[in-house]
């Protein structure tokens, strides 16, 4: 009854266990405001409560049950909050929470008193939460989420002492390697999920055969292994790990023992049922583990910094664990799990002990630290025991798993025949190194004479600082002496999760009798001590030949070189040249167009329409166009001449509009043309021709080629279009313009009614252009181009001035005429506005800006606003009649004595358009005109001064 109740509680507890550290992190931040110890107690309580939450789940999990929970989150993307507690998860959870609790305790004493610890504990808890998430995730994407949370939080933890260069670099290095590995893992897990059809581990783990047989298996394997190896510090991704000891010692102790690096091997264990059992696994995992095992051990002894030594020993032991998984026998997997436990215990205690020594001595250099046994015998004893375990001394836990390793190397299935001895020999040699660096740690720190020049006198640390170490060393002994009782059941449960097809019978015992593995152990011991004894020779060799690369510097250099390379690349591909951008655009569009056409073979360029007969006017117009366009190009360096030729083009285009029955367009084009010319001439005063910048002839050739290709493309498309008939909706406009829009000029009805919304946008563009110009020119000071500066004495020829005055009212009358009739005949607000603006503009031209501006005291901005509002309000009026925006209405009025005439809301709209056009153009022109006046005033005032 009670059990059932608990198992119902299981999912809740599981979710709770995962939430606790994250919520706890926030609590700690709050507690730290109160006091340092409050922070410590809160943090400890958080970890402990995680353990407490685990207790009810223990029996079932130990008996092999798998507890899963699932809160759907993004099911269609395969991401749910799905958790799982099995033997493997339990093993790691215990390590994470148990050692985490000890670390918190230890840190409370270790961390300097000025540190309020809020940030520290919060990060540490969040990191622990991330680790828990990794080991408890049922959903692989969720696992990855937590995986990267550990990368992120470890980044922040390593950089905890961020004032130090080493810490900052080490943090970024760790992020680069482990975060990068995480990305590979992400790809691997996504693929894996795709193959399995689910991201749930339960499903994935059941599909090992399918996965191993899948063509993507090698890819998945490599990607997942990249994740695992980077995280667990396997060669050649190991380098971040030694640098990570820039973190405060409690962090290092945690990262190196129970977490972070263990996440990597956890992953190997987690996916062992799915990914192992192939030759590729054997080769990749086995060889990586072997190389890392040996390399870490070899380098460790060379480190004078004892934290460095320990770091490399971590690499080596993680290599060993990886190698064990790689050996791919059931027993080796068990050994791997066992060694995970053992390594966590002894490495945590070693780091804590090392932290105490560092704390007491103020240095970590073993060449200066000597004879610590004398100063702190109790701590030294603890350290020696832990180091013994690391070396694999019998009766200590490390010995047991190492012995299992040696056993598995003997007669391994991959090494048959004459190669049988290879693996045991390798294991023994690696063992020799392990013994040697352990020996160095013990002898060089605790014995080896007197300390050299220490900043302070070491003594035993506070009682409670040592306490966590005592607990752990106690475990080293307990597991070492009574392995089956201490860890037998949990190992069994964990192995059950890793080896679903059956856990081999194993008995953890201290004594297995005289056998080859024991002989290997003894040999390793003897040779290892000898090796340590002859170390000076080795150090000499190392000093002489080993490359001296400090990895933080190297990392920063690589990063910088990458940055430089990127800058260089960017400079090559992006010259920040508009000319290049434009040329690229032309090339791109041409290629895309050609591809689009060519990819549908068999379509002719010429369509079925018979061609329209050519007439003389067309040929004359073409001649004009040719002269105009080519002239503009040829004389583009002579500014004024180019403008003249451009005007010819404008004239011809207007003429073409007339010729092909578009009077409205012709009117608009003609008026716009005039304003454009005036605008260009206004600017030409300040813009030199192409005097300074000349293109090389090669460039001209290239541009000419591009232009011809582009022009030919457009011509071809136009030709293809013109020679084909098409079916259009515009019949509707022709049919409904008068009956529905109340106007006979269909173009105008389209502009103010059918597509009045376009026109509303268009006047906004015009208004903005003028305003933008105003904003740009505002306060701008320009020197006129030298040649244009000489001005004629007779600035405003009297003939011009006098004749333009009568023209103004007459042109305004024409403008009104065009405005009023636009709905029915060519014209409308645009053209009328342009005419009115030009009429006023003429006054500028004829009599100068002073004269004109004095007489045109309009507030253009207000007129612009009014025009926009009138046009919009006309559109809004239809809301009163419950019609959509811009629904027009019209009617015929017949006052007495006067013939009936039409009133249309569209006409009001057109008045808005009219106002905007007039105000925009006049604003633009008067602003450009102000430029010269500004310059003139400046000149005259400077003349007065001198």
């Amino acid at each position: 009854m009670r059990i059932d109740y608990l198992s119902d509680m299981g999912p809740l507890l599981l979710n709770l266990m995962l939430a606790i550290p994250f919520v706890g992190a926030l609590l700690v931040l709050a507690a730290a405001r109160r006091s340092r110890s409050a922070a410590a107690w809160t943090a400890a309580a958080v970890m402990a409560s995680g353990l407490v939450a685990l207790v009810p789940l223990l029996p079932a999990t130990l008996s092999g049950d798998v507890l899963t929970t699932r809160i759907p989150w993004l099911p269609e993307w395969g991401l749910d909050i799905a958790l799982r507690l099995d033997g493997l998860g339990l093993l790691f959870t215990l390590l994470i929470l148990g050692i985490g609790l000890l670390i918190i305790l230890y840190a409370a004493y270790y961390m300097p008193a000025y540190d309020r610890l809020g940030r520290f504990y919060a990060l540490l808890l969040a990191f622990a939460g991330g680790m828990l998430g990794v080991v408890l995730a049922e959903n692989t994407i969720l696992m990855l989420v937590f995986w990267e949370i550990t990368s992120l939080t470890s980044f922040l933890l390593i950089a905890y002492k961020y004032e130090a260069f080493d810490a900052r670099i080490a943090a970024r290095m760790a992020l680069a390697v482990t975060g990068g590995g995480g990305l590979a893992l992400l790809a691997g897990l996504l693929l894996l999920g795709n193959i399995a059809g689910s991201f749930e581990l339960t499903v994935i783990l059941a599909k090992g055969d399918v996965i191993r047989a899948h063509p993507y298996y090698p890819v998945v394997l490599v990607l997942v292994l990249l994740g695992a190896f980077t995280k667990s510090g396997q060669f050649p991704f190991h380098f971040w790990l030694p640098n990570a000891m820039a973190a405060p010692t409690p962090v290092s102790a945690y990262l190196h023992s129970a977490t972070m690096v263990k996440a990597g091997v956890f992953l190997l264990a987690r996916l062992y049922p799915v990914l192992s059992g192939t030759e590729l696994w054997l080769v990749l995992v086995g060889s990586t583990g072997a190389v890392t095992f040996a390399y870490g051990a070899y380098v460790a002894i060379l480190k004078h910094d004892f934290k460095g030594l320990l770091a490399y020993s971590t690499i080596s032991h993680l290599g060993l664990i990886t190698l064990l998984f790689g050996l791919d026998t059931p027993m080796s997997a068990v050994a791997a799990l066992f060694h995970i436990i053992n390594h966590a215990i002894f490495k945590a205690s070693l780091f804590m002990a090392a932290g105490i020594i560092d704390h007491e001595c103020g240095t970590r250099d073993m060449r200066r630290i000597n004879g610590m046994f004398k100063y702190m015998p109790w701590t030294a004893t603890l350290g020696i025991l832990a180091a013994g375990s690391m070396a694999g001394v019998p009766l200590l836990n490390g010995f047991l798993s190492k012995e299992m390793f040696f056993t598995e190397t003997v007669g391994h299935f991959a090494f048959q025949g004459y190669a049988t001895w290879l693996l045991p020999a390798f294991a023994t040699v690696a063992g020799v190194f392990s013994v040697a660096y352990s020996a160095r740690f013990v002898h060089d720190v605790f014995f080896n004479g007197e300390p050299v020049d220490l900043p302070k006198t070491p003594h035993e640390p506070p009682r409670w600082m040592r306490f966590p170490v005592e607990i752990l060393v106690g475990l080293v002994l307990i597991v070492g002496l009574l392995p089956q009782i201490a860890v037998g059941s949990i190992l069994q449960a964990a192995a059950g999760a890793v080896l679903p097809s059956g856990v081999p019978e194993f008995k953890l015992a201290v004594w297995h009798g005289w056998n080859l593995p024991l002989a290997m152990s003894l040999a390793a011991f003897g040779l290892g001590l000898t090796y340590y004894w002859r170390r000076q020779y080795l150090f000499g060799l190392h000093e002489k030949y080993a490359p001296k690369i400090a990895s933080p510097v190297a990392f920063e250099r690589v990063y910088r070189d990458a940055g430089r390379l990127a800058s260089w690349l960017l400079r090559v591909i992006d010259t920040r040249s508009l000319q290049r951008y434009l040329a690229t655009l032309v090339v791109f569009v041409c290629l895309l167009g050609v591809w689009a056409w060519m990819s549908l073979p068999g379509r002719p360029l010429t369509g079925p329409l018979p061609s329209t007969p050519v007439d003389g006017a067309a040929i004359a117009a073409l001649a004009g166009l040719l002269v105009g366009a080519v002239g503009t190009v040829v004389w583009h360096r002579q500014r004024l001449v180019a403008v003249i030729f451009l005007s010819v083009v404008g004239l011809v285009v207007s003429f073409a509009f007339i010729r092909f029955k578009a009077p409205d367009l012709a009117l608009t084009q003609l008026s716009v043309e005039v304003v454009t010319i005036v605008l260009l001439l206004l600017s030409l005063r300040f813009l030199p021709g192409e005097v300074t910048a000349r293109s090389s002839s090669l460039r001209k050739l290239r541009d000419g080629g591009l232009a011809l290709v582009g022009g030919a493309g457009v011509a071809a498309l136009t030709y293809a279009m013109l020679t084909r008939p098409f079916e259009t909706i515009s019949g509707y406009h022709l049919a409904n313009a008068y009956t529905g829009g109340g106007g006979t000029n269909v173009v105008n009805v389209i502009l103010v009614d059918f597509r009045g919304f376009d026109t509303l946008g268009e006047i906004a563009v015009l208004a903005m252009a003028a305003l933008g110009l105003h904003a740009l020119v505002d306060g701008l000071r320009l020197k006129p181009y030298a040649e244009s500066a000489k001005r004629d004495a007779d600035r405003h020829p009297v003939m011009l001035a006098e004749m333009m005055r009568p023209l103004l009212p007459l042109a305004l009358a024409v403008s009104v005429y065009i405005l009023l009739r636009g709905h029915n005949l060519p014209g409308g607000g645009f053209i009328a506005g342009l005419i009115a603006a030009v009429a006023f503009m003429l006054q500028y031209l004829a009599s100068g800006i002073d004269f004109a501006a004095a007489r045109m005291r309009f507030d253009y901005m207000r007129i612009l606003g009014a025009g926009l509002l009138i046009a919009t309000a006309t559109g809004l009026a239809s809301w009163l009649f419950d019609r959509p925006f811009m629904t027009s209405t019209f009617g015929y009025v017949h006052p007495p004595m006067i013939e009936k005439f039409e009133l249309a809301s569209a006409m009001v709209f057109d008045i808005g358009v009219f106002l905007v056009v007039v105000a925009s153009i006049l604003l633009a022109l008067s602003e450009l005109g102000t430029l010269s006046r500004r310059e003139l005033i400046a000149k005259s005032s400077s003349r007065e001064e001198s």
């Binding site: 004629d792 020829p797 003939m799 011009l800 004749m803 024409v814």
Partner: protein
């Protein structure tokens, strides 16, 4: 019919003078003599066509339409101004050129 003949004559006269003006523009030796060409096109050339059009549209609608006169009005106002400014500009350009070397 008579209307047609009148219109045709006017059109031909107009075209002829426009052509003559442009021949002058192309042919005459210096800027100031060339300046005289366009005035022909303006006044008599376009003037004739305007009257032709006027008669034509009047005949077509059966009423009197004087709209085309507006064209001539504007041309008469603007053409002398153009010529004047062109002449001034040419004088200025010439002065600049002679002052330069």
């Amino acid at each position: 019919m008579i209307v047609d003949i009148v219109i045709s004559l006017l059109i031909l006269v107009g075209a002829t003078f426009a052509l003559v003006g442009s021949i002058g523009l192309a042919r005459l030796p210096d800027f100031f003599t060339r300046l005289h060409g366009p005035t022909k096109a303006t006044t008599l050339g376009v003037g004739s066509v305007v009257i032709a059009s006027l008669i034509h549209s009047g005949a077509a609608t059966g009423g009197v339409s004087l709209r085309e006169l507006a064209i001539s009005l504007f041309l008469f106002i603007t053409a002398p101004v153009s010529a004047h400014l062109l002449a001034k500009a040419a004088l200025k350009t010439r002065a600049n050129r002679s002052a330069k070397p």
